[in-house]
Amino acid sequence: MSNGQTYLFKLYIAGETAASSMHAVANFQRISDTYFPDNYHLEVIDICKEPERAIADRIIATPTLVKDFPPPRFKIVGDLSQRFEQVRELFGFARKD
């Protein structure tokens, strides 16, 4: 799948120190290490500090991961801890080993 393009992700969290935020960041790290260690860019946005961005990106639940590029765009709500296989499907990655 890694065909040179950079994947763009945004992770919206509510409070950097909140347990769910830290879980989400850690779980994303785990997923990216497994599937796409080199070619991605992740921006972590704390909506408590930047509420306008929550409005702009229509973030209702937190944590929410948004894949902006490449299309199709999608959102994953939650701390990314469950339904790993489904998430993988959605990401469009085959297991790398």
Partner: protein, 516 residues
């Protein structure tokens, strides 16, 4: 205990929605949460939108609209059709949308989450523009967007708590499955709300009828029961607080003429200016003629008359008046007369009532004629008809409009109609016109059977109709049961028998009575 001493009952935020302050006694409790529940198409979103629109345009309160079903641009477009332009409000930041409608992008769930995103958006929007009002339309759709019901439930409580902390007056909408049953689909909405209002859209006898009911208002008085309302462009929602109206109209002793001197005599020298007169009679019995005379009398005195015709076309009406030598067209041109012809079935009773109220407001007539009110019976169930009449009469009295309603009886002679059974107690005066069969001849009788606050002639008079109008003659004697429609002869008195033997055979001569 003293922490409770300074607590007063909540103040209220007026909504500006017609009739709303009346049924809620002042509006929505300030800083509290109100649920507006209703089935789909019952007008929840419109009410919510009107609350914010009027909130700013009438009272200068800024508002935030959180939309969870329709997209914000669609909402703006929809209310534009109602005649409300939200764009300037949005541009001035007096109104702000939070678009929380489902997105077209796929959303998956993985692991626990909460709705802090929504909460942060709401808080931010309220503080950014200094909003006092907030709408969440509809809160229950969060259950459709997210699969973890327990989380959604908990978060709804957290959101409404935050709204209270921020002191905004919030209106939540909630979907209902059926018109009479569980308040809201998810059963959470009513628990987080201090006030619950239910909107209904009930189809009965092929007519849709919208009603609003204040189910509860924690810690405050309100009117109970369902009140009909209508939705119309420019105006929005108009609630008709029919039975909530108080009988506080001032009662005047000023009398006006009915246009027929003899009838005025029978009523004890004219009709009261703020009274409601019902004329009941069979078809062709002279009701419209009396109504026409009543209108002409007013126009001659320079008073304004609103004439609502439900049985005749405008052309017919003018032609008939012409045949009595009355020029309705001229009076209309002079602005003394306004004739409105309509099919009763053209709209629902609430819409009729609203239309009449608007016309009275606009035209400010001294007199109102409805020919006939019984035509309205056909439009809806009897209970709605009664409400319509109560609404109309109380409005007419409040505005001191001397009103004349005609009612067609189903039978040629005697009998009563639904109209009379339901409105006779509401009217101040009732005049009966009846056919009387006497010796194989059809004759006409007129009687004043009720004249509130005044003496009146209790006798039944004969009357005739010719090309100059309606002429009331002498009372019938020796005939019984005219009103019941089965007149029977009684024995003439001795003096009359003697008169018959010795005297003039001109029985219609002045002073004598009509006898069998």
């Amino acid at each position: 205990m003293h922490q409770y001493q300074n607590l007063t009952s909540p103040e209220k935020v007026p909504t500006g929605i017609e009739g709303f302050e009346h049924i809620t006694i002042g509006g929505l409790p300030t800083g509290r949460t109100c649920l507006v529940a209703g089935s789909s198409g019952s007008g929840k979103t419109l009410l919510a939108m009107e609350f914010l629109h009027r909130g700013y345009t009438q009272f200068g309160r800024k508002g935030v609209f959180v939309t969870m079903e329709e997209r914000a641009p669609d909402l703006v477009r929809n209310v534009k059709r109602m005649g409300w332009d939200l764009e300037p409000l949005l541009a001035k930041r007096c109104l702000m949308f939070i678009d929380a409608a489902p997105e077209p992008v796929p959303i998956e769930e993985s692991g626990p989450y909460d709705l802090s995103g929504l909460l942060v958006q709401i808080k931010y929007a309220i503080q950014a523009i200094g909003a006092e009002l907030l709408v969440l339309d509809s809160i229950g759709s969060l259950f459709d967007q997210f699969s973890d019901n327990a989380t959604v439930r908990r978060e709804i409580f957290r959101i409404t708590d935050t709204l209270k902390e921020l002191g905004v007056t919030a209106l939540l909408t909630g979907e209902r499955q059926e018109e009479y049953g569980q308040i809201s689909r998810h059963g959470v909405e009513e628990f987080v709300s201090d006030t619950v209002i239910i909107l209904r859209n009930v189809l009965k006898e092929e007519k849709c009828r919208r009603t609003i009911q204040v189910l509860k208002m924690r810690g405050d008085a309100h009117f109970k029961g369902e009140y009909p309302f209508t939705i119309s462009p420019k105006v929005g929602i108009s609630i008709l607080p029919l039975s909530a109206r108080e009988l506080k109209q001032s009662s005047t002793s000023v009398r006006v003429s009915s246009g027929n001197a003899k009838l005025d005599d029978m009523a004890g020298s004219g009709l009261f200016r703020d009274s409601i007169l019902l004329i009941s009679g069979p078809t062709g019995g002279g009701k419209t003629l009396l109504a026409t005379t009543f209108a002409a009398e007013a126009c001659r005195k320079g008073e304004k008359v609103l004439l609502l015709a439900y049985e005749e076309s405008r052309a017919q009406l003018l032609r008939n008046a012409q045949s009595w030598g009355l020029d309705f067209q001229k009076w209309e041109e002079e602005g003394l007369l306004r004739v409105i012809c309509q099919y009763p079935e053209a709209m629902g009773l609430e819409d009729h009532l609203l239309l009449i109220q608007r016309e009275i407001e606009d035209f400010r007539p001294q007199r109102l004629i409805m020919d006939s009110i019984s035509a309205m019976e056909r439009v809806g169930p009897v209970r709605y008809f009664r409400e319509f009449v109560i609404g109309l009469t109380s409005y007419a009295k409040q505005e001191e409009v001397c009103s004349l309603f005609t009612s067609t009886t189903p039978k040629l002679s005697g009998g009563d109609s639904i109209t009379e059974a339901h409105i006779s107690t509401i009217t101040d005066a009732i005049i009966l016109l009846r056919y009387v069969e006497v010796n194989g001849m059809l004759r006409r009788g007129i009687a004043v059977i009720k004249m509130r606050g005044s003496q009146h002639d209790k006798r039944i008079h004969e009357f005739t109709i010719d090309d100059r109008g309606l002429h009331i003659g002498v009372p019938f004697t020796n005939v019984q049961n005219i009103i019941l429609g089965v007149p029977s002869a009684t024995m003439p008195t001795e003096s009359e028998q003697l008169g018959g033997i010795f005297g003039d055979d001109d029985s219609t001569g002045s002073g004598s009575s009509v006898a069998l």
